[in-house]
């Protein structure tokens, strides 16, 4: 038994002054104002502090680009071809990447990490805790998403197995034809024995998407019209998906709210150097959430360091996002959007004992992370 006592608990939906969070066997078993603390419980004093759920980063590349190495050694984008769904993040992940510790130091306890956006189908993403005594136990889900991007990207590496589309209509057409083939595969109209090894793996992995077992993370970063193309694909193939990055997504906030498609927005504070950054606005998360879109905020770490996840939410709050919504955007919303809302993202009984203790209100730049708990254990202390 472990009890975090005396702090202001932000669940984050509700605020409990002088709250008690009780944990047993790594799980939260109670949260209340005047909870009786069982005898012999290990006490973590949070008097005068703020307690939040462990933060969740809904989109990153931690472990795929190791901290402190040059980026030409990155494992994010494989130029094998425009469809590389046979590839899995777990096969590239460096669990010793300092990026996990960095995220942890910023109160981030769970991250989605995965392939990049250079391919129409980049590969399979994973969800991990940022710390475990035995590294392999960091893994929460090794098949967490199908990464998609509706490009096209301007520059490509030279050697590829098959040609990349050079227009958005080409990219969307390739996405559509690939998904149609996967539909045929699921419905038994495609003989698995007729496929070569790569394609068979691609089809098996895409089947998980079409059967509704995993969501797609669809990268849209240049302009709002990409979102319409993504929504068409989502509807056509009846898949679950998140809109990742979503610059300019506020233009289609009503549509996204109506269809129930979540947005994982960001990274906030990134450079606006390229022409594609026209639609970057710190007001977007606030507009999305006020119109009823389930809105999360990402770091895209290491682009923005993982420890700056909460700072990104602070910037969104400064630009009009409701403070509770801003906290939800880095806790329960990403947890639900990436498919682990039953395990993490809020302080309630039955969930993992992932907590952050802050020196002051978490939406202040000058508040610091003092302690982080994962599965009920203190894994970081300032």
């Amino acid at each position: 038994m472990k009890a975090v006592i005396g702090g202001t608990v932000l669940t984050p939906e509700t605020t409990i002054e002088n709250g008690v969070v009780l944990m047993k066997d790594g799980k939260i078993v109670g949260v209340c104002r005047d909870l009786e603390i069982p005898q012999g419980a290990y006490i973590v004093d949070a008097k005068g502090k703020y307690v939040t759920p462990g933060l969740v980063d809904g989109h990153s590349h931690i472990g795929m680009v190791t901290d402190g190495i040059e980026w030409d050694a990155s494992d994010v984008n494989d130029f094998y071809g425009p469809v590389t769904t046979q590839m899995r993040a777990i096969d590239a992940l460096n669990l010793y990447d300092g990026g996990f510790n960095e995220a942890l130091s910023g109160g981030v306890t769970t991250v989605y990490t995965g392939p990049g956006s250079s391919n129409i189908f980049g590969g399979i993403g994973a969800i991990l805790k940022t710390y475990a005594k035995r590294k392999e136990e960091m893994m929460v889900k090794d098949f967490a998403s199908i990464k998609m991007a509706l490009g096209p990207k301007r520059s490509r590496e030279t050697k590829t197995k098959s040609p990349y589309p050079t227009t958005r209509m080409g990219a969307v057409a390739l996405a559509r034809s690939t998904l149609r083939r996967a539909r045929d595969y699921v419905d038994g109209r495609l003989d698995p024995e007729s496929l070569d090894g790569d394609e068979k793996m691609v089809m098996e992995h895409l089947s998980e998407l079409l059967r509704g077992n995993v969501p797609a993370h669809i990268h849209t970063s240049n302009m709002p019209d990409e979102i319409l193309a993504a929504v068409r694909l989502i509807e056509e193939f009846k898949i679950t998906a998140t809109i990742d990055h979503g610059f300019g997504s506020e233009y289609y906030a009503d549509l996204l709210a109506e269809k129930g498609i979540p947005v994982i927005y960001g990274p906030v504070m990134m450079t606006k150097k390229s022409a594609g950054s026209r639609y970057i606005s710190d007001k977007t998360p606030g507009i999305l959430s006020s119109k009823g879109v389930k809105t999360s905020i990402m770091t895209d770490a290491p682009l923005i360091p993982g420890k700056n996840l909460l700072l990104s939410a602070i910037i969104a709050a400064k630009n009009g996002m409701d403070p509770v919504e801003a906290l939800k955007a880095v806790t329960i919303n990403p947890a639900e959007s990436i498919g682990i809302g039953d395990r993490v993202g809020s302080i309630e009984s039955g969930k993992d004992g992932d907590l952050v203790i802050f020196s002051g209100h978490p939406l202040k730049v000058k508040s610091v992370v003092e302690k982080v708990l994962i599965n009920g254990e203190i894994v970081y202390q300032r």
Partner: protein, 386 residues
Amino acid sequence: MTDALVIEGREIRTLSTKGIIVNGKILVENGKIVSIGRDIKLPREFEKIKGEIVTPGLIDAHTHLGISPIESTDLQPTGTDSSDPVTPHLKVVDGLNPLDRGFEDAVRAGITSAVVSAGSPMAWARPVEAITIMPGQNAVVKTNRRVLNDRASLKMGFGDHPKRYMSLLKMPPNTRMGIIATLRTYLEKAKAYTGDEEIPITEKNREKLEALVPLLKREYPAHIHVHKADDILKMIRLAGEYNYDPVLIHATESHLVADEIASSGTLVVFGPMIFPRRGGELANLTNRTPAVLEEKGVLFAITTDHPCTPIEYLAVNAGLAMAEGLKDGLRPITVNAAKIAGIWNRAGSLEEGKDADIAIFDGDPTEADSSVEYTIIDGKVEYGGE
């Protein structure tokens, strides 16, 4: 007689010997601060602005405003000419795009002056920085697009970044010893240069040497792109050898050699802070560095390296450093930045006789939940009050 402007602040942070003036007033005439205090003599007619917290206009001591415009394509001009590794005669003002929307972002964030640097901002999602070993001459501008100094400092680049860029261009030098040897060759020539040499000097070389002579006469400092502790020491040593003034830009590992930096009196511009630890040179990037530099008595500024981190987050960066122990978050983005930019005589603090460059916030300037209410440059309201 021009219009007078009076600014009333609940708290005026002068950053001068007057400290913080509670319920104070600033009288502005002809773009200058005429008087400042609790009870000052006011003219009969004036325009009035009231605000919560009044500070000097913020200054970013290392940006690429207008030279690496935001929302641009790769075809637009930047601050590095890749035809030659040594181009001290190039001037960023000659490539400046005043229509860069970054200027508006700066004004909205209370930033009134900036150093515009030759070279390139720290590159996003790319492994190689576009920087040569001597890309050109920096300018100092106000964010109302007025150029204050078109030859404010000389940009240099050292370490892995120019090394990698020169290798990419298949152009020597490609090692640290090669870079320093090249720098030394040019510095030796400049030392000997009198202007009426009989030995044949190519047109291009003459212009290069003419740009280096004022460096050696300490008429302007060198702004040196450098990250690692050992590289910092090498750059301080070379500057000492030729007696020019070094300013360390980025200075990622400056906290590791803060004593040496302090004892040599070298100035530092630290940042960008919200940046990946990409490559070995950035492996030790930490928000704690400003606190260490402050404690050791180094005169340092904090920079966004705009557009690397967009300039509007300058004050938030100071706040992040304060969360890690920096005591005075405003000084590195006002007083110190003005001194490093060479505009301390006219900006960086609220004092009589200085330019009326003023920012007014509705709360703590270095905390994210406060906003800029007004930005005033040369006595003119450039933002706020609509």
